[in-house]
Structures are given as structure tokens and as C-alpha cells.
């Protein structure tokens, strides 16, 4: 290796040219001036977070949209194209709803379904999270089981209802089995795709910092994949709720309690559209409520803390 490459030839070049390349050997100024300079830059360049009050248009706009839809519904009914018992108006459905509320039927159905949905979903999370993490981290396992898991997510979980009835009879077991088959694959898939989107540099940093396999999975990969994982959980909840309704509609009787799906089926048997509409709206509202009260805030907080919310339309 050449130890003294400054040749005489290079030294003979005109001095004026090299004057253009003056370096700053060190910053001029005393230590406290430099600290002030640094502190000034820090204050100028870092974010000052602003606190906002309640945004009323977040509440008013959805409510207004709902009112418009109900008015349109009422208007359509009042035109009288269809028989009233086939297409009841908002007021008919409301009357039926109040009657069922008085009988305690609504509370029972919502409580039964919600309880099952939540318990089934939570058990699915407990099963799917470690499985998803292992599949995402261990390449051969993922190659082996990945397509199967994706396939299971596409398979409508209603398809499991006949099998479940044969295996578990008309019991809670049937309902939970169908919920699991709906929720678990989609949570696993969400977690895997979350892991796939982790910037590769995070793993390099983990390696450099000396993380072992378990620490890498729990302290770096899992938190890094959290946005995708939450997305998977959201979808997992949607799948559990849908599967639950399907199971409740098909499997009625036995030791299976009275849920929203059962209410829907009862409305069909009685040919009472007001019951059917009430049940559909209840199922819809429970879904909206969970999104607004559980997933919405979690997701928003997560994105906000990572600085990913700026400029989004949320």
C-alpha cells in the first residue's frame, strides 16, 4: 500500500487552485455558542405538536349521511311500489324494534352474539399470533404452509358449518369452530404481510445491536409489523363476526343460545320483514360500533405515534 502518495508532481500545481478547497478545521466559536447554535437548530427543525379540540365534522358528517339514507328509504316506501309487509318503512322497523326491546329479545340476541364473537376472536388472536410470527420468521415453514393459509382465508367459513354440526352437534362448539376457521387464517395472513413490509434495515439494526432470534421476533419484528398486524386483527374480527352470523343462521336449536343470527332466521320463518330488517341493522351497528370504539382509536393512535398520519384523510 503506498504510504506517501503526495507526489512532487501534485505539489507543483498552482496554489490558487487548491485555495478553492479550504476546509473548516473546526467551527469558530466557543463551546457555549455552539451549544446555543445546536439548540436553536433543534428547536427550529423539530415538530411542534398541535393539540386539536373535538372535530365536529367527524361526528356531524356521518350522522348527516345516515339521516339522508333514512329519508331516502322513507321516500321510496311512501311511493308505494311494493307491498308494505315486503318493504317496511323506517318507522315500522323502529316500532318492531321497540317491541322486541320491551320483550328483552334484542338485548339477549346482541349479548349472546357479541359475547361469542369477542371470545371466539380473542382465542383466535391467541392462536394466530404465535403461528403467524413463526411462519413469517421461518422460511421453510412459510413455503410449506403459506399457500394453505391463504387458501383457508379465501374459503368461506360457512362451508365449515355442515362439518361442524356433524362433529360438534348443535352446540357452542359448532359456533366457535366456524368462528376460528374464519378469523385465524386472516389474522395469520395480516401478521405475515405486516412482517413482509418491514424495512430490511430494521433487521440489520437488530443484528448489529446483538439481538438473538427470539429478541428479534418479539422486540423488533412484532412491533415493526404492528400496523399490518392491526389490519389483520381488524379483518379477523370482521371474519369472526360474519362467520358467527352464518353459523347462527344455519345452526338453530340444540344448546345453541339465541343470537342475532337466530333472530334473523326467526324473522324469515315468521315472514316478518320488520324483524329481518331489525336484525340486519343490529348486526351492522354492532360492527360499526366495534370499529369506532375499538379498532379506530387503536389504529389512529398507532399511526400517530409513528408519524404516519400526516396528510391522510382519516
Amino acid at each position: 500500500m503506498p504510504s506517501n502518495p503526495i507526489t512532487t508532481e501534485e505539489r507543483t500545481l498552482p496554489v490558487t487552485e487548491s485555495k478553492e478547497h479550504i476546509t473548516s478545521p473546526s467551527l469558530k466559536g466557543n463551546a457555549s455558542e455552539l451549544r446555543d447554535l445546536e439548540a436553536g437548530l433543534d428547536n427550529l427543525q423539530s415538530d411542534t405538536s398541535r393539540k386539536r379540540g373535538i372535530e365536529w365534522n367527524r361526528v356531524l358528517l356521518p350522522v348527516a349521511a345516515l339521516v339522508v339514507l333514512i329519508l331516502a328509504w322513507q321516500f321510496y316506501v311512501s311511493l308505494g311500489f311494493k307491498r308494505r309487509d315486503l318493504v317496511p318503512g323506517p318507522l315500522d322497523v323502529l316500532t318492531q324494534f321497540v317491541t322486541m326491546w320491551g320483550e328483552g329479545k334484542v338485548q339477549e340476541a346482541v349479548w349472546t352474539s357479541l359475547q361469542r364473537g369477542v371470545i371466539g376472536f380473542l382465542i383466535s388472536v391467541v392462536i394466530a399470533t404465535p403461528v403467524g410470527l413463526i411462519l413469517a420468521q421461518v422460511a421453510p415453514l412459510r413455503r410449506a404452509f403459506g399457500p394453505l393459509i391463504s387458501g383457508l382465508q379465501v374459503l368461506p367459513s360457512v362451508a365449515w358449518v355442515p362439518a361442524a354440526i356433524i362433529w360438534f352437534g348443535l352446540s357452542e362448539g359448532t359456533v366457535y369452530f366456524v368462528v376460528f376457521m374464519g378469523a385465524i387464517p386472516s389474522i395469520i395472513n395480516g401478521l405475515i404481510s405486516g412482517v413482509d413490509q418491514i424495512p430490511p434495515q430494521y433487521r440489520s439494526v437488530g443484528t448489529v445491536l446483538g439481538a438473538n432470534r427470539l429478541q428479534m421476533a418479539l422486540q423488533i419484528v412484532l412491533p415493526a409489523a404492528l400496523p399490518g398486524y392491526i389490519g389483520g386483527l381488524k379483518q379477523g374480527w370482521a371474519f369472526s363476526w360474519r362467520s358467527l352470523m352464518a353459523a347462527e343462521i344455519i345452526a338453530v336449536g340444540g344448546t345453541i343460545g339465541f343470537g342475532l343470527g337466530s333472530l334473523l332466521d326467526q324473522g324469515r320463518l315468521l315472514s316478518d320483514m320488520t324483524i329481518v330488517m331489525s336484525a340486519i341493522l343490529l348486526i351492522l351497528f354492532v360492527g360499526i360500533l366495534i370499529e369506532l370504539l375499538v379498532f379506530g382509536p387503536i389504529e389512529k393512535r398507532l399511526l400517530q405515534r409513528r408519524g404516519l398520519l400526516a396528510g391522510s384523510s382519516r
Binding site: M1, P2, S18, H21, T23, P25, S46, Y202
Partner: protein, 243 residues
Amino acid sequence: MPVVLENLGKRFGDGAPVLDDVNATIAQGEFVALLGASGCGKSTLLNIMAGLEPPTSGALEVPSDGAAFMFQDAALFPWLTARGNIELALQLADKSSTKASRRERATELLELVHLGGAGDKRPHELSGGMRQRVALARSLAQDRQLLLMDEPFAALDAITRDLLHDELERIWKETGRTIVFVTHNVREAVRLGQRVLLLSSRPGRVVAEWDVTEEHRTDAGRAGELTGTITRRLREEIRRHAK
């Protein structure tokens, strides 16, 4: 313990070698600037020294506890605060440390990089310069003798970069680390390094080296002269690839 690179070579697949016959010895406590044009394999060499990639030929000797690494972008974890990022590094470096001791050490390190008041901020709330200082504190938290830096100030504005040069020099003197600092900026190399190594491009090889003496640090004219010399040599190296 010195760092020794012997006939180090690296190629990816069947392609042309990225590094070929790299030889260098870096003494303990030395600050070496590794200079080269973009795409000359500087980062690859650093990754090999950090143990992130294996070399395809040759041998290298690095401290057995490995090296601390600072990346070009801060690469802080966005789900942790500045303090949390440092505490995680402390935790991974020493599994037996207590929470209280980590907290105390993180506070010290934040003070060291003049960020005592920003510990609870998240990375996206910090400026680029502040993020790099947190990253520097994190790499110091690893408590390794060897610190590898991959163009850590390349994306910063001039004033911030000058400040960080000052700060890095101060921290180097305070902690006595061995630092290998990769850059494509000649001024930066002369400003920081005790020694500047020039890496050629395709294949990368150490083709020249200069000592930066105390005289260069105090005399702007001398420093400018050295910068000019190195710049010409670097341009020559790049022009070789014009044909």
C-alpha cells in the same frame, strides 16, 4: 485490539468483484476516514467489518465483541421514543442489566449528545440532525471498542453537519473509541480522520492514504492544500472509469 484487514475480497454471485485485495490496519483508538466515490464498495467493506456480510476471500481481525454500527439514515425504531431506542440497545447489549440502570445510562448518553430534553420524543418528531445524534448515542450504548459509521451525516444540511463533526470529535476524544468513518466527502474525511484511506472503485482496493496532522487542523491553508491533493487523486480514480 487493532483491526486488521488482509487481502479481503468480496463478490456477489458471479459478478465482478466489489472488493479485491483490501489491506489495512487500524490501531486501537484511531479515527480513520474511509474515502471513495459512490459505488466503490465502502459500505460493503463496512458491512463485512460489522459481520453483516461474510467476505468471499481474505481474512479480517476485529474485536471479538463485534462492532457498533451507525447507518446512513438514523434507522431508529419508530415505535420507540429516543430514550426507548437507546434503552433497547442497552438491553440487547447486556441482558442482565436492570431497568433502572438502563434508564440512568440512557440519560447519560442523551446528555452526551446534547439531547437531554428530547428523550421522550419519537423519531418522527425530531429533525434529521437530532435523529443522527440519537443514533450516535444508540451506537455508543452498545459499548463496543470499534464504531463503524456509514456516511452518517450525508443527508444533513451544512450547518448541522459541521456541528455534528464537532460533536463526534468531542465524543471520540471522550470515549476513546476506534472509529472507521465512511464518506465520499473529502472535506469531511480531512476534517474528522487522523488518517484518510482512499478506496478505488470496481474493484474496491485501498490505493492511497494520507495522515492528517495537528497542523492541518489548525492551519486552514494546509488543510485546503491536503483537501485539494486528495480531491485530485479521487477524481483521477473516478476518471479511470470514463473510458
